[in-house]
Symmetry: D2
Subunit: 481 residues, 4 copies
């Protein structure tokens, strides 16, 4: 329903003995499903022989028992879930990527976005490289492979590749005998690891994946840190650590699952804190505070705690909707909000309602939800967004709608209230965002709100980047052949 596309999720496991690592990866990806619903993949490493399967769809649809059986046992596996985009992607861009190179096999799963991938791609193409996809992950695998030619080990090659890559990358790399996990020096995207009683290690985008498979989370991998898992244990390289940290604050506000803990901070608590801040900002005389399921519930709860206004259950969400839902009929699409959510009339009727959501992007969904409340007899509806206004594009892996669709780029808060039919509208203050996780306000990337980018921004726009193959010849100014 929202127009912010979610991130990718990555996973890796290194087990001391041969076992059903495909099952473990499956359950971990299922826990990371909220980070990407377009496609998913698992690569199993059985003593150096790789078996892979990836496809479009949800984890549960792709990995039948039959497919998992064919993936077989092993002592390592990596996995990936990929976010959903409207037109693009397809099966070809599914991850992990498996490549063969001079030294053997390599599989990669990546969460993030490079800001210099266009330059790297051009440089590689000039030496004769061919690409099967348009993803950064293939660029990264090339860079690592090139460095591998003159490096003594895969981990040495990865370290040298880090010097070449700018932007966001939480990466899991699997060689025949090693599992490598690393985070870019800014640490834009989360990546944590944990251990199980039998000595197996796992890395995952979020702790909720470790919880679901019975691994005890150890800690976040540090920005710039590389962990190497081998049969001899774990080693850490921090040669790229020490730079300016810039963890995406939107992970706390929207992307991550509330039960995850990122860099020691509970996502649920951060959202509750956003609600508390909102309560301090907006002192509204109302009867009930309700959140939009599921993403607005935590902040609504925080608002209620801080304000003393009762927290209420205002909506029931159809629990069968969390999947590829077929919505036949054009007219029907108009009413998809109604299919998904229903108001608890008895709780709302005659009440002045504070409605909390995680964001207001285009405004269309917000308008429909406000209408639902009014139809159910709410006398007032005050809409609060636990995220500040989106005003800038993100270059680090969150696919926020283009500016033309962002309602906050074109309208004042008062206009937005009128558009969505609310009595008032409020956004979290930008200067509060830095304090959601209880810290001193440093180390978070808030570029989508304030435009302060921790890195250079891409030199070439997204559209012109792939014009050589995505544009018709007749419209392509550079086509010469």
């Amino acid at each position: 329903m929202s127009n912010i596309h979610e991130e990718c999720g990555v996973f890796g496991i290194f087990a001391p003995t041969k076992q059903n690592v495909a099952h473990t990866a499956y359950y971990a990806l299922f826990a990371l499903q909220h980070r990407g619903q377009e496609s998913a993949g698992i690569v199993v490493n059985n003593d150096g022989v790789f078996s892979a399967f990836k496809d479009e769809g949800l984890v549960n649809d792709i990995f039948s028992e039959d497919v998992l059986e064919r993936l077989g046992e092993g002592n390592m596996a990596i996995g990936h879930v990929r976010y959903s985009t409207t037109g693009g992607g397809g099966r070809e861009n599914a991850q992990p990527i498996v490549v063969n190179h001079l030294k053997g096999n390599m599989a990669l799963a990546h969460n993030g976005n490079l800001v210099n991938s266009y330059e790297l791609r051009c440089e590689l193409e000039n030496t004769g490289a061919i690409f099967h996809t348009t993803s950064d992950t293939e660029v990264i695998s090339y860079i690592i492979t090139k460095e591998r030619l003159t490096s003594g080990s895969i981990e040495a090659a990865v370290l040298r590749a880090v010097d070449r890559m700018k932007g966001a990358f939480s990466l899991v790399v699997m060689s025949p005998s090693k599992l490598i996990a690393l985070r870019d020096p800014h640490g834009f995207r989360p990546l944590c690891y944990g251990v199980r009683d039998d000595g197996a290690y796992a890395v995952a985008s979020e702790t909720c994946a470790l919880d679901s498979i019975g691994f005890t989370p150890i800690r976040e991998i540090e920005p710039g840190e590389m962990l190497v898992f081998t049969k001899n244990g774990v080693t850490s390289d921090r040669s790229h650590c020490g730079g300016e940290k810039a963890l995406c604050v939107f992970e706390f506000l929207y992307v991550a699952r509330p039960d995850s803990v990122i860099e020691g901070h509970s996502v649920h608590e951060a959202r509750k804190q956003a609600g508390r801040f909102l309560a301090k900002q907006f002192k509204i005389d109302a009867d009930i505070v309700v959140g939009v399921p599921d993403s607005g519930l935590d902040a609504a709860y925080g608002y209620a705690l801080e304000s003393g206004i009762p927290y209420g259950i205002g909506f029931i969400k159809n629990k069968y909707i969390g999947r590829t839902f077929i919505a036949p009929g054009q007219e029907a699409r108009e009413d998809l909000v109604r299919i998904k959510l229903n108001v608890l009339g008895s709780a709302i009727r005659g009440k002045r309602v504070i409605l909390v959501d995680d964001s207001i992007v285009r405004g269309t969904t917000s308008r429909r939800i406000v209408t639902l409340l009014r139809d159910a007899g709410a006398t007032e509806v005050h809409m609060l967004s636990s995220a500040p206004k989106f005003l800038n594009p993100c270059y680090y892996g969150t696919d926020i709608d283009s500016r033309e669709n962002l309602i906050a780029c074109h309208h004042s808060t008062e206009e937005i209230a009128e558009i969505i039919g609310a009595d008032s509208v409020g956004y979290l203050d930008l200067d509060k965002v830095a304090f959601l996780t209880g810290g001193d306000g440093t180390g978070l990337c808030k570029a989508c709100f304030d435009g302060q980018y921790p890195t250079e921004t891409p030199a070439v726009g997204k559209k012109s980047r792939f014009e050589r193959w995505d544009r018709p010849i007749s419209e392509n100014p550079k086509f010469k052949e």
Copy 2:
């Protein structure tokens, strides 16, 4: 996760003009999906010509755009979702049933259970009837057809059939030109109807289905009442009204969606009331009240309101699980609770927790959830069930586990606490159940709790009922041929 099988759901629409009634039925069934996940079906009536499609699976899986297109337009449709049973059923038993008889077509969708279906079936068989299914619905269609032979109209036949049938039946019947809806004289199962701006009428098991398709609920069909929708409008027959009402109280506690309103009572409010009652019964010194998602949330909320102990969000449920989830690996099945639910550690750690669920059936799920809380650092866990103890079988359409699996039939409350690992366990008092909906305590069936059945009970046990065809010859004492 629970071991109580849910009910069926029925739907019917009568529109003044030809339109895409298949789409409307689809969305309504999607809203009733919680009442049955085994199979679903839709029959469209286009000026007397019936098109039907039914299959095993979820509504969203069965009805692709292609299938809905093939069903086509019409001015009437009926639909059904069927509950999930372990072994039985299959495609053959999916509803609605479509039959041809002397006077033309008839389609039926049924929610409930007859207590005299065995006797009726025997009687019919003695006149040469053949059955394609083992469902009561086929028995009902026979009874109506027989009466139709000597009745002037389909509605007259239905009325006469009501005299023959004992037990629970909320029924939707479609003839070439009429839509008929009726509830048995006790009104065991809910059935309401509503209207849309264009004059179309709809009947549904619950109001949430009417809400989702933009129909305004009018009222519950009365116990014993029959509504007939034709192009000339709606007529009501109350010749079977006036008996003792016996609406299933378990609809309020478990089956229905919280946003539904049954006989004027909000399901959400009834559950909240159960929580309030629990708070009066069990005054526990604790830090937080959490509900088991999704079914325990309302009662937990009520407990918190009444007790003053803060309501908390204790669990995050994986929102992709509400579907046919593949759980590969035997060992994995053990941990399915962990796959489905994760504790919000920050909210639970070091707390004394009151855990509220809608019921405690076998105890196995409860034990795992209590363990999750303890592992997350809860110092105390007190488990409360918003339903009283299940002690008796239900003959009216709720498929509660056989007594041997019902933990309350074999253990004291203290023993149950020990088994599931809770510091204490409490059940809603039986004498409170009648007052959940704010009334005077009459008109509800509570037989599964107190054994007071409003009707005779079936003379022949379920197992021996179909022994003629479900048992091997070698074990069948009655086989003679």
Copy 3:
């Protein structure tokens, strides 16, 4: 490509011990696939407990290993393949039919068509019968069930049912402990049986099915004969034998597989004989005789043998076409013949060709095939049909196109030659048909050619028969409700 719809095929097995009868039925149905491509089904009988699966599609698509596994083992099974019709049918009409009645289970598979099914249906409806399908098989199961009420055994009931049914029926009936096979007294449709080394018996529409599963064919079941297979062996009842035989001659010319033997006559030899007769009728000066694959090959071969003109391989058929072929694009459909068949240019170029096919129905396919030959350089093309002209509808289970599409009903032979672009056209003489199997010309039904029906013909036309439920109310003169 042809416009004659093929027949159904039936199968049954009675084994002395529990075994994988589902597999055997699967292979047998696969061998009978040419008799029906719309739907298929298998019912397994495991000591009186029936397991069934049926669906639309080809045998090989319906019965995955998983489905066969679920059907499980047993000591009996019956199976059915159903022909393809344009609009009708669907999953509901798939066979075998499984019904429950007073005495237990019964499963039926039927090949043929009753001429009095409308009357029987009306009679049953008048006693309150309901029908789930529009097939004769459901009527038959009712008739048997009615008789069973007052008969001492299932076989006694079947015998009494035979007195009620008029028309074509080759029937396989399975009760909990018995397998019954019978042919109508005229013996319109074939039905044979065989035995395997281990003492298992099987019945099948054609011997090719017995061959494929390693059973030795014993003989055709006689017209009017009923065989009953029990654990005590086989018994035969001939109380309905002795009437006028009327085996469908079109089984020899078109329906059956050439490797089958019907009533002792090889289908291949009968077709060869048709070719020989054609050679005597039409002495054409030509260079080569070619058959249209696959159905015209045998007759072409016979023509060549008799005439001395060399037999040639003239076409190559794409062997992947024998299945649900997707033909996208309207323009493409025009050229489906070209997709299916290609001329062997080197064999045809500069030659005077005698082209033999099994029939000329609409003429459209014939015209395209003649064009293919001309394009490949044939100097003359003489088209011969090994069937006489179709001039009359069939009421016994062969779904020949309605008269308006039958080219021979509207055009002289000369006109047909011009229409299809052939130098000449010839049909097998009607008086030769009776002698194809080498006999004295009696005992064959040739009604589609000569209009001599061995039974009464249906009193009510096909269209008006089901007007009560297949016609819109607004066009249905009899609708009263």
Copy 4:
């Protein structure tokens, strides 16, 4: 049934206007299906924008109307069918390959095998190349891309790439604006082209594909020739022509469809000629000559023509088998020949039979077919192979079984007769093979029979070639990391 794996098939179309080239490619691939059943793919070029779809399975299963619709219209398309291997391959190795490089898009479809692909791959890897597949096609696309960096056009790059590649390659390359087709200088694999009335050109592995889509074949592309199709017409480059020709003779004997014409020679006639040669070699006193369907029919026909012994139809093949056939049950697999073929008893009984097949590979299938004939009453069975004895591996794209399974490598002709149960066995004389197409015996590769390889043979064996990624570390002598 045979153990020789078939080749790949390629196709390309260049149309003057935008049209449904996906449909045309679909029908062409369907006609080439016999060259590969493992996977298939189509790439459509719409004014420089490529849309691709490929998957495992048969053409008709992969390309639903929906998939073809999504491929959309264009003015160019290429397609590929890939042969079936036991374990390997899978979706990753499906073709065509689509790559992005410095100059834009490129798609390739390849039939053949390079003998120096290992050397090329190593060279590329040493410069940092990464590979997603183990196929030669990816190596070829790299070589072309590398040359493209310093070439003025794609066709110049392709020509320079030809100098680097040794072995068999019939190649179709598509750039944004050009379609290029070329054959290696020996011309191991066929590749022809044709034209349609509207000026569209098509290239295909065999003429049967052109026939099926209504294109008039022009001629074979010459060994070493490159054709470039642009909007300005066709140009031919013959700079690599003039070497020693070596067309695979096995294309005539086994691979190609009989209705295809390769280098002006009818495949059907070549097989007939093989039969004629056999008749001269083996003068057997017999009553009938029958071929094993479908591949032995032409040669049997030639034998009959030459010997004067009557040609007979001896077997009926189940026409539904030409597809992914499920064969459940281990014991059943034993009898798959019986499921596929049935003897025409009336034609065989009491006869001395000459049985002709295209080859005798392992001998197991031959043994079962001989048994079928004996069981049907053949008094003598003389088995003839229209191919000489297979004694050597093929390095040019035909995947003949390894020597250990080739019966002719281990047994004398007499022993083979005894093993398969024939009265005698005969193979076509090696020195006749060169004359099958009526020429002077030059220009054909017969290496699999005589061991005379027209090129160097691969330096590195197949097994050790990919040991870096296909072998477990623990068994991989070269693993160092």
